[in-house]
């Protein structure tokens, strides 16, 4: 079997910038659309009186969306080429859907941003870029779309490129790429455009198939949050005590000296086990079962780390929070349930330092109320120590969610500073 990598990307954009058409185009040109799906949207397009088959219909699923003609939630799409399998988290771009953009961005390797060539960098573009930066999406590809409507002019593309660069200099994005496209006509999406011979870079598909994502995980700082303890209680595996979980960082090897948090006990890795046999090493994003040489007390929520490289063990968290709840704003001094890796604790909001204007990065110090879709810098105090890394170093051990104790809803997501 050939080895195919998995790449997750997020797209954010408004109804008008051609995002759905672009996704439809990627699916269509990579032959990921089936006849019956195509017949389906052909029939619906005709019934609505549209002249051409509306590829955008492929991506809006729910009835409410069809009626309103907008995408209101994160929808996941799949396609693959011989080189890679792709998961698209397709999110709406309006300001009221910031929470969806944050959700889609949380697991993405690549953010795909669309700019309408006629309009250039607009508020929404800035917002997407800021979210991509805050959520530390490793790669950003900016597609300047609708090039057909500006006569495929190089100057237009270059202007937008410059505008974007100027603004993005303030952001924390590691890797940028710009591509001029027309999603409607297929220019530079999957096939090279003959109408933009001045552009010498890759097509969008070539970019997605080749962008280097192997280093997107942290392979340096060993972090293993214990998820579940496996105890078979049968004769064949009498004293078996396996710590099951998903590697969140670093490379664990048999024989490594490790420390268990919060107890601080040390031991060695005796075995890394799986249904398919023992392994010599395990790294992200593998699920594995680790057995230690010594019989020490380890349970869910504990973390196995290297002796010489430990995360912060802390009850005080400084986080950039995105508020999700539409029923009430973040309560100053409010108490919430906090989830971090496999830990759950309670926390209290100690301080709201500022609200962040996600269109300008301006820090609002007067009105610090966080309502749905607002972001802000918040200090939390937890009832027990969590084992954290800054989000910039590790997206898994650096992220939290808050849960309302009354409704059990997930009301916020946070990145540890």
């Amino acid at each position: 079997m050939e080895s195919t990598e998995l790449l997750r990307f997020t797209t954010a954009g408004s109804v008008d910038d051609g995002k759905s058409t672009l996704i439809g185009r990627l699916l269509y040109d990579s032959k990921s659309i089936f006849q019956d799906q195509f017949a389906d949207i052909e029939r619906i397009s005709a019934r609505r009186g549209e002249e051409e088959v509306n590829l955008a219909l492929l991506t809006d699923g729910l009835r409410a969306e069809r009626e309103q003609g907008i995408t209101i939630d994160v929808a996941y799409r799949y396609f693959s080429t011989p080189k890679r399998k792709f998961i698209i988290a397709d999110t709406p771009g309006h300001i009221q859907y910031t929470r969806n953009m944050v959700t889609g961005a949380s697991t993405a390797n690549v953010a795909l941003m669309l700019i309408d060539a006629r309009n250039g960098v607009v508020e929404q573009t800035r917002r997407h870029a800021i979210i991509a930066s805050l959520l530390q999406i490793p790669h950003v590809v900016v597609c300047v779309n609708k090039m057909d409507l500006v006569d495929y002019k190089e100057e237009v593309f270059n202007d937008i490129h410059e505008q974007f660069e100027a603004f993005a200099a303030k952001l924390d994005i590691k890797d940028f790429h710009f591509i001029p496209i027309s999603a409607l006509r297929g220019d530079n999406v999957v096939t090279r455009s003959e109408r933009m011979s001045w552009y010498e870079g890759p097509t969008l598909m070539y970019y997605l198939e080749n962008v280097h994502i192997a280093s997107d995980h942290n392979f340096i700082d060993c972090r293993f949050p214990v998820q579940h303890v496996i105890r078979p209680y049968n004769d064949d595996f009498h004293d078996y005590r396996g710590y099951a979980g998903r590697i969140s960082g670093g490379v664990f090897k048999v024989g490594d000296e490790v420390m268990v948090l919060p107890s601080g006990f040390t031991s060695k890795i005796a075995k890394i086990d799986s249904f398919d046999g023992e392994m010599e090493e395990a790294f992200p994003p593998m699920s594995a079962t680790i057995l230690l040489e010594d019989d020490i007390d380890v349970s869910r929520g504990d973390m196995i780390v290297r002796v010489s490289n430990s995360p912060d063990v802390t009850q005080d968290l400084d986080v950039m929070l995105c508020w999700f709840d539409n029923t009430k704003p973040l309560q100053p001094r409010g108490k919430y349930i906090i989830r971090h890796t496999t830990q759950e604790a309670r926390c209290i909001v100690k301080e709201v330092k500022y609200k962040l204007d996600i269109n300008s990065l301006h820090r609002e110090l007067e009105d610090k109320t966080l309502e749905m879709n607002d972001m802000g810098r918040v200090v939390l105090r937890t009832t027990k120590p969590l084992f954290t890394d800054p989000y910039r170093q590790n997206r898994i051990t650096g992220s939290i969610i808050l849960v309302d104790e009354g409704t059990n809803n997930t009301v916020a997501a946070g990145m540890i500073i």
Binding site: M1, A64, R66, T103, Q227, F237, I396, N408
Partner: protein, 300 residues
């Protein structure tokens, strides 16, 4: 050194993570078993997730009474092989007790009646999480489904009120009487499932491979001839080399003309095929939002 796992290993790892999370966050989970390849995959992943311990939750099969006999035999063998616990909910029982009314006519199917038995069994077993083999690529209403899908006390799905899921953090907290549907293989496509089953050499029911069968054609779909479907006078039965792409109840599972005799043949067939696997499901054809409507009522 390049630390890298391929997409099937990454999907496997994600699904195993979800299953372990379910066992940690819920008291009484259950795995919904339909007999199809997705639920076979789920069972196999569950075995892997808890190895060398036994799978810590039972399988629940809602039997419409109209199953392919091959499905039931395969199910029982699987349960035996891995030492699993099996619960069977019977739609026939619900009909006999007058709790649900059977559809009449040519397109009669017990598919929608499953919902009643399913919810009834979940309630009887006090299950707080039902693991399902739904995939987001299957149908448009499923593209927005969460891994942890919250259901109210009536088992209903509210597409507007689903919890955001970020990173590796899943929120399974709930009020009394509420439960969750959990979909560990959300991110797998049909092709991923087949590639994985091939790579792992997982045994599958013979129905998935090409075989001779008595069939008839209705609305462009081939259906297996059986006593449970009332044929129209003009519907002629003929023999054909076919296979199932999905396995459900006999009344609504279309069969396909195919010569694919091995998993590799099937992968080659899917890679070139131009119809989605649910294209053969009569139950999805009822309206543009058929799946969404059934989901809201508590069907998967």
């Amino acid at each position: 050194m390049n630390y890298h796992i391929n997409h099937l290993r990454e999907l496997e790892s994600e699904s195993i993570f979800i299953m372990r999370e379910v066992v940690s966050q819920f008291q009484n989970p259950v795995l919904m078993f339909s007999g199809g390849k997705d639920s076979i995959l789920m069972t196999y992943l569950a075995v892997k997730a808890f190895y060398p311990a036994k799978v810590p939750f039972p399988l629940l099969h809602v039997d419409t009474g109209h199953n392919f006999p091959e499905t039931l035999k395969f199910r029982d063998d699987l349960v035996e092989k891995y030492g699993l616990r099996l619960i069977v909910g019977s739609v026939q029982d619900a009909i006999d007790k007058g709790l649900v009314t059977e559809e009449k006519g040519f397109n009669a199917s017990r598919n929608s009646l499953q919902t009643y038995t399913l919810l009834d069994e979940l309630e009887k077993g006090k299950f707080d999480a039902a693991l399902g083999g739904g995939r987001r690529d299957e149908e448009k209403a499923r593209a927005k489904e969460r891994f942890f899908s919250h259901r109210d006390e009536f088992g209903q799905w509210d597409p507007k009120n689903q919890r955001p899921e970020l990173w590796n953090l899943f929120n399974g907290r709930k009020l009394m009487g509420e439960h969750f549907r959990v979909f560990p293989i959300s991110n797998w496509t049909e092709l991923d499932v087949w590639q994985y089953l091939a790579e792992e050499e997982v045994p599958l029911p013979n129905l998935y491979f090409a075989h001779q069968r008595e069939v008839f054609e209705r609305d462009g779909v081939l259906l297996a001839d059986c006593e449970y479907i009332q044929k129209r006078p003009e519907e002629q039965v003929f023999e054909e080399m076919v296979r199932c792409r999905t396995i459900g109840d006999m009344t609504c599972t279309g069969v396909w003309r195919s010569n694919a005799a091995t998993v590799e043949d099937i992968i080659a067939e899917i890679a070139t095929t131009r119809l989605t696997e649910r294209g053969g499901r009569a139950d999805d054809k009822r309206s543009e939002t058929a799946m969404e409507d059934r989901k809201k009522q508590g069907y998967f």
